[in-house]
Structures are given as C-alpha cells and as structure tokens.
Amino acid sequence: MTQTEAQAQAPAEKTQKPIVPFLRLPEVAEGEAYLVGSKCKSCGLIYLGQRRACGKCFSRELEEVRLSNEGELYVFSVVHQTAPGIPVPYIAAIVDLDDGVSVRANVEGLDPNKPDKSWFGTRLEMFTEKVRTDREGNEVIAFKFRPKK
C-alpha cells in the first residue's frame, strides 16, 4: 500500500484535550503547555482559571493571564488508599507557582515511600502527560510537577 493509501485508511485524527479548562495545550508541537489564570484589574490578585468576579475586592473586571510554569512545593501528602484505577502511592501536593497562585497537583520524581520535611520548598517545574483516553478517543492531558534540575 502506498503512503497515500495508508493515510486515507487511518482513523479520524485524534486530538489532545486538557483535563481541566485552565490547562492550555500548545497549538503547535514545539509550544509549551501552561496554566491560565485571571488577574483582577482592580487589586491585582491572580486566580487559577476563569473568574466572574474578584473574591477579595469584588471587582467584576478581570483579565486572562498566563501563569508561571515553575514554583515550589508548599505542602504534600502521600496517598496510599483511594478510588480504584489510580496508581498508588502518589504525592498529592500544593504547589506555589512563582506568580503567587497555588495549585493542587501530583508531584513525581520524589520517592513517595520516603516522604520527608526536606521536600518543603523544592523547586518544581510543570510538565504534561497523557493520562487517559476519553469516550471520543481524544487523549486527555494532565499537568504535573517534578523537581527542576
């Protein structure tokens, strides 16, 4: 079969979809995924994701901003028992991004069987990976963090 014929027989193109709306996947293969936030034009507070109003100063004027891909490990737990289908143990963390927004995320690259207070403040960088396939056959992409080299 020629290459053209093979391509004609290939299944409909699958896309990648972010697991949450505030994860923006790159438009081109070389691009970087990032988290989207909303910044209050009045008090400057930055939120994760979209907002209708600022919870702190009550302003209705917010603008979309791109959030930092790096941060530090604030606190963590290591989950050993959870719903079926989730590989355990995993590190469930609160990550403080450099721009002041905190996110819940998994951290990889640290040994979940050796949790330790030395982990506090670890510099982290975000990465993305496919976690599942949805009902339409799209790849579901999630973000995680790992220690920055």
């Binding site: 979809k17 697991i19 919870g55 989950v79 719903a83 469930a92 609160i94 998994n106 999630a142």
Partner: protein, 389 residues
Amino acid sequence: MRDVVILGVGLIRFGRYPEKTVIDLASEACLNALEDAGVSMKDVQFFASGNLYQANAMVGQRILKEIGHTGIPVVNVANACATGSTAFRMAYSAVASGQYDIAMAVGSEQMGKAGLLGGGGGGGGGGGGGGGFDPAYITEGVLGSGTMPAVFSHTGIEHMRRYGSTVEHFVKVAYKNHKNSVHTPYAQYQQAFTMEEIANSRMISWPNTLLMCCPTGDGAAAAVIASADKARQFTTHPIKVAASVLTSDPYTEHDLAMFDVNTLTRNAAQEAYKLAGITGRDVNVVELHDCFATAELVHYENLGLCPEGEAHHWLDEGKFDIGGRVPVNASGGLISRGHPLGATGVCGIAEISWQLRGQAGGRQVEGAKIGLAHVIGLGSACTVQILQK
C-alpha cells in the same frame, strides 16, 4: 440578644445500624434529649435538623412526625461536618433573638460504608473540569487529591513546615484520643492503642494511618435549649451558652487550592471569646475537630489554648491530657467516637454539657466550668460554642 441555656442533651451510641433508618436514630436521640431536659415536644417551638446525606429529603419534618407532629417551624441544615453545630446555632439564634422560648437541634447521619474518600465528607474541590460526565476528566488522583485524608494531611504538614512538629506528634494525638475513648460509653470505638500500633496501622494518606482517621458510621445527637428566663421552670442543670459563633473561610493566600482551616477558626474563636468575656486560657475543657490526627494540632493554637507554635510542645508535656492544663477531646474525639457527619456537631455540645455537669464518668475533667466545642466543615464552615456552668 438574650441569654440562652441548654436544658438537656441526648444521643445514641455511634456505630453501625444498617437495620435502622436515620429517622429512627434521630428520633431516639431527640427523645433522650427531651427526657434529659424534662421537656415535652408540645413545649418545643422551633426545630433545626442537621443531616447531609439526606439534605434534600426533609429529615427534620420526618423526625417531627415520629416524636411531635406539631407543625412548628423546621429548618433542615447542611454545612458539611459542621452541619449539626450549625443546626444548634440556628436553634440558638431563634431563641436568643427573642422569637422563640424553647427550641431543639438534632444532628443525624447514616453513612453506610462509603467512607470519607467520596464527596459526602464535605468540601468542594478535587472535582473535574470540563468534559461533563466523561470520567476521563475526573481530576482526583491526577491533579492532586481532594480526599479528606489527604486534605487534612496538608493541614498538619503545614504546621510541620512552619513550626517543626513531627509525624510522631500526630501519632501522639491519636494515642491520646483513643486512650480517652475507653471511658466514653457512646463512642463507636472504645479501645486504646500503643503508639506503634497506631503508626504501623495501614497507611491511608501519609502521615495519616487508619488509626489516625475518624471512622464513618451512624449516629445522632440532640439538644434542647431555652431562654434563661424560661429555663427556670425546668429543674435540670441549665448550661449557659456563653457564645455560639459561625464563620466561613475568608480569602487567604492558599485557601482556594488548600482549605485554610486556621483563619476561620481563629476568627470564630476570637468572636466567641469576646462574646463570652474570656480568653482561650480560661477554657477548662475542649472538644475540637480531630477528623484526622493531623487536624488536631493546629487548633490548639487556632483556639488560643496555647501560644503560637507551641502546640506540639504542649502536647508532649501532657497539657492536653485529662488531668492536664486543658484537656482536649476527653471523649476520644472524632477519631474514636466516630464521625456520623450531621451528628458530630451536636455530639461535641452534648459532651461539653456532661463535662460541665460532672456527668462525664471516667473521662471527667475535674472542676470544669467553661467548655468549648469546635467543629470544622470543609469548604468551609467553623462553629465555636462556649458553654458555661
């Protein structure tokens, strides 16, 4: 606002009652409270029922049909783990405002074996983003965890980061509470464990092991309250409600990603102490929200029982033991007595009432005159009630 007193309290032993309905459980607790108060349902003018799992199913009215089909106003309350104590506060407000003279609050829950991994444990967060019902978009375990054992681990770990408390301190909290529960006839579990047994029990979400997590179960607790004036007609032991405060979580740096259970507790405690005219150091006995062993330590400081950063030192020195400076969770806390969600908030109030009356048996805190009941409902709500003899 006029003075309000507790005329009577009642509950049923927390445990598992698969053969009963939640209305059975709640009705029994109510009848126990009415008997303790020497009050009939014909005297009760306002009824607040706290229940989570059947929050949309008119539990309050169904209880009244069992015990007093009188047509009085009923409010059904939901506030996560603070459901019962919020129901109490609703009843308190109804009487303090002058609108009603005698009111009743009951908290109940029948949980089956779902556990607190699911959303029923209260608190939002951890849910999926887009994608509707496609389970491929569930974020639990993929973007961190919103399960209660993990979330409340974060609470304790933050104290570890700030003040240097250790895993051993969290184990010690569980050790203290399990030891206390031996003297609590209504506790779901009444068994002491060694530090090793607790530390080596099955890991749920580090550092919380199984014996550091409150069990789910069924239960109900109720309280009958009245205006101080009206209380004179009844010959039980009135316990004064010196303060009944409810707060939600205000904006703080981490609150949107990681539930901040500290600020709203501090706010509630400050307001309550002001209303009662006391400080945290005047409190003789405390029941606070130890849903997980990692959740208790921070509240020693949040409630002003000890200085900032000293929680683990005071714990080491036995200051929170029965016989110590300010016994915390003499009942065994949620960890031992169980956490039927809606019931817990009223149970703490019942326990403090018994302590102040000298009716706490083997777990009695000698000479207790001022007691405090604290609950956190994740998402969040905090209630602080100060009771005085």
